[in-house]
């Protein structure tokens, strides 16, 4: 695949095989063999359970190892490579840290730029026009609708991913997790927390 495979900022011709796959999906939907949303359900099972595991390991490591955390915030791409993650979609990864005073959330206003190597497949809503538009315009309102009510005192920073820079949120370590192992900590980390639409 090309370096800019997910780069809709600069329109690209899709590859022949991608066009075949798209045509096939459309054909199967037209024939009623696959109801709309069916493939999404399959993909969801994978995006929720499999891809985000990489990001969860990155987060857990940053929680237990302050020097790793420092490296992660300074150079996300290099730090995830330490754990064996990377590839074109993980290049230029910037990790932004939540604190009691600052909450970060990631969006891609133009398309759906997303750090695949650490977060897996993007959720369907991430690509939706309302999410992309409203997260910039009224993040506090939208986050509340998504189940995350933040106090007015918490500053919300919205990061717009692009082909050049992709963002991932480093959530706050939950209170009471001091005695947990790195593995158990990783199990606490959710995809939405790393996008910034949820807290842990």
């Amino acid at each position: 695949m090309s370096e800019h495979d997910d780069d809709h900022h600069h329109p690209r011709p899709i590859s022949p095989v991608e066009a075949r796959a798209q045509a096939l999906e459309q054909l199967l939907e037209e024939k009623g063999l696959i109801p709309p949303g069916f493939i999404d359900a399959v993909v969801t099972a994978y995006e929720k359970d499999i891809g985000p595991m990489n990001g969860a390991r990155v987060v857990a490591r940053a929680w237990i190892d302050p020097t790793y955390r420092t490296r992660l915030l300074a150079d996300g791409t290099a730090a995830i490579a330490e754990l064996g993650f990377g590839g074109p979609e993980g290049n230029h990864l910037r990790v932004v840290e939540n604190t009691p005073a600052v909450h970060n959330v990631v969006v891609c206003t133009l398309c759906s730029c997303y750090p695949w190597p650490v977060l897996g497949l993007p959720p369907t809503w991430y690509k939706s026009a309302p999410y992309r538009a409203r997260m910039v315009r009224e993040p506090r309102v939208l986050l509340r609708e998504m189940g995350l009510a933040l106090p007015e005192s918490v500053e919300i920073r919205v990061w717009d991913s692009s082909a050049e820079i992709r963002y991932m949120v480093l959530p706050e370590r939950p209170a009471g997790s001091e005695t947990l192992s790195e593995e158990d900590l990783a199990a606490l980390v959710t995809r939405d927390a790393m996008i910034g639409t949820a807290r842990l």
Partner: protein, 93 residues
């Protein structure tokens, strides 16, 4: 439906094994994830066995070993749908 047939996918070994990193599936692009989901959906909806797809994937890879994995995946899926007369050749791109 029982998604995903994790065990069946895990048992795909050798040339038919999907690309993985640290034991987890790796998709290089969104369409690969969708093609992956499409095969699982088709097998479920047609009431087939996972091996019905897997055998065609192995054959597609053997036909052109240099071809990228998910190119062979789409070819195998097209073949499966042709063989079961779900689609006609003229309907495919």
């Amino acid at each position: 439906m029982s998604i995903p047939p994790d065990a069946a996918v895990r048992e795909m070994t050798g040339s038919a094994a999907p690309p993985r990193r640290n034991g987890e599936l790796v998709f290089e692009a969104p369409w690969q994830g969708r093609a992956f989901g499409m095969a699982i959906a088709v097998v479920e909806r047609l009431g087939l066995q996972w091996k019905d797809f897997q055998q065609r994937l192995i054959a597609a890879i053997a036909t052109d070993p240099e071809r990228p994995y998910y190119d062979s995946w789409v070819t195998a899926l097209e073949q499966l749908l042709l063989d079961y007369r779900v689609v006609r050749p003229d309907e495919l791109r």
